[in-house]
Symmetry: C2
């Protein structure tokens, strides 16, 4: 029986606020690369890991995601952390997967993952794009953006769309989908460079650095003199409050993330309920897991076409090596990533 050393990342204790690298440990376990008899397990060597802010909720002692989503249960100190990833099958007891297959799915923040019964793995056939795209633009970030925008916000051409964390993994795609659909799009981000990127390469109509603004309400009024029709919210907090104040009647707000609340459990978002009534605003929370259905079967072909045609810019921010995971994750909450944060775990 052959054995390999597999490094993996854990949290030392539950994390209740903005995470620090010192809160993580890198440990090593020895795993067998032979399939246990009588199982359909698949052993996957990780190549790319998706690094996502929602994981912080799972690291809290009282996890919000607990009991609501099957694969997003609480993360326990010392234990393995799972998340979206792509890797190569090194051994398989499952008839659908063969050695050397490239697969996407829920992998551990580890060099090797034993996937019980090949659960929720998806084979990547006909490799046409860089493999990393499958954990980002073709993975949950893309689906979150696509489903959140088209299904939750139900846009009309010409709608005025505001996207926060617009240079982030989901935000940049929402803005691009909205532009391709014929909307007017303004994004906000936290650095001058990101703002330039949004207005330049990504084709947003306007973008601004929220850190340079003192009164977000007035800022939004300046960028949306005729009001906001759709707000795709990745941050919550004051930005959501300012957006509500600037929404048009029958405006729609898709709540995708609340960075402000993930890292500061004391801070609560308090939008004007009177505005919500008088402007008949809809606020809708959603999870990407709801979009893994036939209803969104257009997501992949449409997105691949856009990427193929050079219409959708794929913005990746890749660090290399398992040692980078804590820093990559921590950086999400400091706005360090530009586009999709990915850790490349090994050479393809």
């Amino acid at each position: 029986m052959e054995m390999v050393q597999s490094k993996f990342v854990t949290i030392k204790t539950h994390i209740e606020e903005a995470p620090q690298e010192s809160m993580f440990d890198i440990k090593t376990q020895t795993i067998s690369t032979s399939i246990q008899p009588e199982t359909n397990d698949v052993i996957v060597k990780c190549l790319y890991l998706s690094i996502d802010p929602y994981q912080l909720n799972r690291m809290k002692s009282k996890s919000s995601s607990q009991n609501t989503v099957a694969d997003a249960s609480k993360i326990t100190p010392g234990m393995m952390i799972n998340g979206g990833g792509l890797g190569r099958v090194i051994a398989s007891g499952h008839p659908d997967y063969q050695k050397n297959d490239i697969v996407c799915g829920s992998l551990n923040w580890a060099e090797y993952t034993v996937v019980n019964n090949g659960n929720m793995l998806m084979k990547v056939n006909n490799i046409e794009f860089p493999l990393s795209y499958h954990v980002g633009v073709f993975g949950s970030s893309g689906l979150t953006a696509y489903g959140g925008f088209f299904r939750v916000c139900k846009p009309k051409k010409g709608d005025k769309v505001f996207v926060s964390a617009a240079a982030g993994s989901v935000g940049n795609l929402v803005g691009q989908y909205a532009k391709l659909y014929g909307c007017y799009v303004v994004g906000c981000a936290g650095t001058k460079e990101k703002v330039e990127l949004l207005k330049g390469k990504l084709g947003f109509d306007e973008a601004f650095n929220y850190k340079g603004e003192t009164d977000l309400n007035s800022t939004l009024k300046r960028y949306f003199p005729n009001g906001i029709d759709i707000y795709f919210d990745n941050v919550g907090g004051e930005m959501l409050e300012a957006a509500v104040a600037n929404m048009n009647s029958f405006g729609k707000i898709a709540v995708c993330g609340v960075i402000s609340d993930y890292t500061n459990s004391g801070r609560r978002t308090a939008p004007s309920m009177i505005d919500i009534i008088y402007k008949r605003i809809m606020i809708q929370g959603f999870l990407v897991s709801d979009f893994y259905t036939d209803e969104l079967k257009d997501f992949m072909p449409v997105t691949k076409d856009y990427v193929r045609g050079g219409k959708l810019c794929v913005l990746e921010d890749i660090s290399c090596g398992i040692e980078c995971i804590p820093g990559a994750f921590v950086g999400l909450f400091r706005g360090e990533n530009v586009g999709k944060k990915i850790v490349k775990m090994d050479e393809e």
Copy 2:
């Protein structure tokens, strides 16, 4: 030309918080009971006035309703206040209305109203029910409850429904519609007597006095051990926050009123955005004015059938005489009314 003295109610100054009777004036004007030549005006003697909490928003110096709804513009100190009412035509220059017709529409808080061009008046034909019903259960309160519940909340039979201000004009009807539709219904109110009324005469499954509760979150957990599917919100504030914490996945919240914010502009409702995401909660503000369409043409026949058959209890709280208007209005914010607050202005 015959003239009549017409008393009317005004505000002395804009009102920014909980209203007091001393903030109102009763004045008198002299109006001609003859139609001005070349006009289609209709002069209406008021019989019943609907007294509604949303009017407080119109009395603020910075009105939230301004510019969003045509007939809910700002109320100016010293000037006439309009609202829902029913009366008898005493003179008409409009071909559709004759002397002695009974009409509903936007009337002033006054003994007589000159309705320009008979604008938005609706004739009450075939008088089958008490006239007061037309400003309550068959008027905007009923339509708010019906449209808000069926169109905004889109209930399923068996849904677990929570209604706040459940003994109020809209809340009591929402609860009754929900019960008739086959839902499990819990209401909250502010006195023991109201709670008894909800559980007794109105047939709610459960009801509680929120003033006797110290932790609304636990209270709702007690009444909804399996969670809330629909929350019909008339109050905002802490109750909305507690409801969000107790909502089931894909729960729906119709925001009809925010008494807590009407009277206290400093207080903001701060629901957990993380709950909203993970439980995919929808929060939707709405206005009854959106329901004056064919889409809700079933409202009136269905409601009349229910009332005729004794299935829907009509809960009215009637004061008599124009002098009662300030007290009736002020009482809304003290929870004094039981059911629909109406002022009877004159004998039929």
